[in-house]
């Protein structure tokens, strides 16, 4: 099959957010050590049919955000504050058995490494039917044809035979497809994809991304895309949140954000990646590494690596200021203050 890229839909969103995360704060506590705040007051909305991106480098809190929403953080050693309202219910206040009922049915998740998120000793087909048995109370016999249809829908050739395969018998791309099939089994209204294509080759990545685009368009599922790859975000997400050190530093529609990045971090990221679609130009790296942070409580965490710091950056905490569809947390944005 050869296909042209489809453009993400931007028009079919409802007005009411399906998921509304407010002031999410995740603190990891260890005996004898200072508590570490991995996610620090993150708020965002996801509307039906919308694709929202969380972008950032390792340690920015993007994965912890998704695990907290899904209730998948370990029970001990962390504190989760804030709210994550899904369809009128605060997911963070749900008990573990209530959450289990929702996970897989209303909200599904796709992880980075399909091999470690599939059970290696259970055939893939069984792992798909398991979801249907658990949530739709179907018998295995009734669920099997559905599972086959799901595998077929995500583009796995010869699904009848593949149902009996174990994960190790599949290629990386096919495993990721199987995982997507499992996530789609109960037609969830929200799909969280945590680096779904990072472990895959670029041609397979293109296949998976176009599959996700198709699914969002056909089913109206809301998608939260967590990635470090700005290219993936540019083609897929309607709204992009850039995270740094556990906080959102910039938010905007993809056209606005990439066309006119305002935060020095977003701008720096875009200047530091080699581009295929432009003349070769010298790269401007962001100095230092992601661990060179200041505490958000008394400064801007990005100040030590910033290309244009001013005095106030190391003295006060910048606030996330919203204006229209954009939000920015910076004292001295790129292009000057508006």
């Amino acid at each position: 099959m050869t296909a042209t890229a489809t453009t993400p839909s931007t028009n079919r969103h409802g007005d009411e957010p399906l998921l509304s995360v407010r002031d999410l704060r995740v603190t990891f506590t260890r005996q004898g050590e200072e508590p570490f705040t991995a996610v620090d007051g993150v708020s965002f909305d996801v509307r039906p049919g919308q694709t929202v991106g969380l972008v950032g480098e390792s340690g920015c809190g993007k994965s912890v955000t998704s695990l907290a929403i899904m209730g998948l953080l370990p029970r001990r050693g962390n504190r989760v504050e804030g709210t994550a309202t899904f369809d009128g219910t605060d997911l963070l206040r749900l008990g573990s058995s209530e959450m289990r009922d929702r996970r897989g049915r209303d909200i599904a998740m796709i992880f980075q490494d399909p091999l470690s998120s599939l059970n290696p000793v259970v055939p893939v087909g069984l792992q798909v039917t398991e979801v249907l048995e658990r949530h739709r109370k179907m018998s295995r016999k009734a669920a099997t044809p559905l599972a086959r249809d799901l595998l077929k829908r995500v583009g796995i050739p010869d699904p009848d035979r593949r149902l009996k395969d174990y994960p190790h018998q599949m290629s990386g791309g096919m495993r990721q497809r199987a995982l997507i099939a499992m996530a789609l089994a109960c037609a969830p209204r929200l799909l969280i994809a945590d680096e779904p294509t990072t472990a895959l080759d670029v041609t397979i990545q293109a296949q998976i991304l176009s599959l996700l685009k198709e699914l969002v368009q056909e089913t109206g599922t809301a998608l939260v895309m967590i990635t470090h790859d700005l290219g993936v975000v540019a083609g897929l997400c309607d709204e992009v949140n850039v995270l740094y050190g556990g906080r959102i530093v910039e938010r905007g529609g993809r056209h606005e954000l990439f066309g006119q990045p305002r935060h020095p971090y977003t701008n720096g990221l875009l200047a530091s990646i080699p581009r295929l679609d432009a003349e070769r130009a010298p790269l401007t790296p962001i100095p230092g590494s992601v661990s060179d942070n200041l505490p958000w409580t008394s400064a801007c965490a990005f100040a030590p690596r910033c290309s244009q710091p001013v005095d106030v950056c190391t003295q006060r905490t910048p606030q996330l200021e919203e204006s229209g569809s954009r939000a920015l947390r910076c004292f001295n944005p790129v292009g000057g203050p508006r």
């Binding site: 890229a5 593949r162 290629s171 670029v202 290219g231 083609g235 295929l276 070769r280 100095p287 590494s289």
Partner: protein, 404 residues
């Protein structure tokens, strides 16, 4: 300048320099063994299957391809870390493939490697000083203590680390700094050629650019020649003078970085380039993607003829299935003689005389030959290949013959 069968381009200044690496007909085949006592060889993984590669002094050659295409194995074969099954590799005039033992070890001074994961390629129990001195001692470069200390300081300064780093251990550094240590270790023995296998893919986006820039600076400073093996096309294009695209053990296209991206001629290169997501929404919406169907076939049973014909949207009924194309210069306007491609129909495709067609899913299943073969990206190790072969042979009666 003539476009003859002799594949030695001669246009740009780089092309006139002396050859540092001249690999001819390199093959690396890994045996797939079975049986406990007899260890019978039941097949081979054709990781690298007949590659000619020339690298000139001072240039950066980029090898790209997807996982399982043999790019890393080829890089190792050039250093004789993976002895080639066939073919010759001349590095600076010496046939590396024929060297053994002490002679090989001595020659290794001239070619060093930088690995992908700096955490696992640095011994966690060795301080930076001991990591850097080890190679120098082995090659007799660390005889004078004072000179060695000076050299260490120079090395650290060259890769942008403070002198205080000498007494520290790898875990005390960030990923980008560790990669700098790995580069300093390679530089310590004053090599001529550095093979960098995915040097930035384990690093954070903001740090990647630092290491890419560092590699470029060091090349100018120490007159190095690089062979960069990577899967990230944007990185390879940025850093390389010339690029070779690999698919299933063979080079399918070779050109200067700008030519390759300006006018890709091989269908696989086109698909590969069109699959890279661009960090520009307008370009993303406008671009036409060539989505390939299915995965890479197993390198233990590569398709006949052109290796890419099973997934090629431009495949023709004639030649593609049974005749393996060789790298050749194509006669298309504006394509220089240094741009070589292994496709029978490159001219026709470039002129738009052959249209892209749908590769149907059924054809892919048949061409896969692998309903029970499992990992279509190919085995990552001999053990995996063995398991793979066992499965295949037990189900060989069910294997569907390749499509028409």
């Amino acid at each position: 300048m003539t476009a003859t069968a002799e594949p030695t381009p001669a246009e740009t200044p780089v092309d006139e320099r002396e050859l540092l690496v001249d690999a001819r007909g390199v093959k690396v085949h890994f045996p797939i063994k079975r049986g406990v006592i007899l260890d019978k060889v039941i097949g081979h993984v054709y990781a690298v299957d007949g590659v000619d590669l020339q690298i000139r002094k001072g240039e950066t050659y980029g090898l790209v391809g997807e996982s399982g295409c043999g790019k890393s194995t080829l890089g190792k074969a050039i250093l004789n870390l993976e002895p080639p099954t066939e073919g010759s590799v001349l590095v600076d005039g010496t046939d590396v493939a024929s060297l053994k033992g002490a002679a090989l070890r001595r020659r290794r001074k001239d070619f060093q490697m930088v690995f992908q994961d700096p955490m696992s390629s640095l011994d966690p129990r060795q301080s930076v000083e001991s990591l850097l001195v080890e190679g120098m001692k082995a090659h007799g470069l660390a005889t004078d203590a004072k000179a060695t200390a000076k050299r260490l300081r120079e090395l650290l300064a060259a890769v942008g680390l403070p002198a205080a780093a000498l007494k520290k251990y790898p875990h005390e550094f960030s990923g980008g700094q560790r990669q700098r240590i790995g580069i300093a270790r390679a530089l310590a023995v004053e090599p001529k050629l550095i093979v960098a296998d995915e040097p930035v893919s384990a690093l954070d986006v903001s740090v990647q650019a630092q290491v890419i820039n560092l590699l470029e600076e060091l090349q100018d400073e120490f007159d190095l020649t690089y062979l960069v093996v990577a899967h990230d096309l944007a990185v390879v294009r940025h850093i390389s003078d010339r690029i070779g695209v690999m698919y299933l053990g063979g080079l399918v296209e070779e050109a200067s970085a700008d030519d390759l991206y300006a006018q890709p001629l091989h269908p696989y290169t086109r698909a590969l380039l069109s699959a890279v997501p661009l960090p520009d929404p307008a370009a993303e919406d406008a671009r036409e993607q060539i989505l390939l169907v299915g995965d890479l076939p197993s390198p233990s049973r590569p398709p006949s003829g052109c290796r890419f014909h099973t997934r090629c949207p431009w495949r023709q009924e004639t030649r593609c299935d049974d005749e393996r194309p060789q790298l050749r210069v194509v006669e298309v306007d504006g394509v220089p003689a240094s741009h070589r491609v292994a496709c029978h129909f490159a001219e026709e495709i470039a002129r738009g005389e052959i249209q892209r067609h749908e590769v149907t899913a059924t054809a892919t299943v048949q061409d896969w030959r692998g309903e029970d073969e499992g990992d279509a990206i190919g085995p990552a190790s001999v053990a995996e290949a063995e398991a793979d072969a066992r499965r295949t042979s037990s189900a060989s009666s069910q294997v569907t013959p390749p499509g028409p």
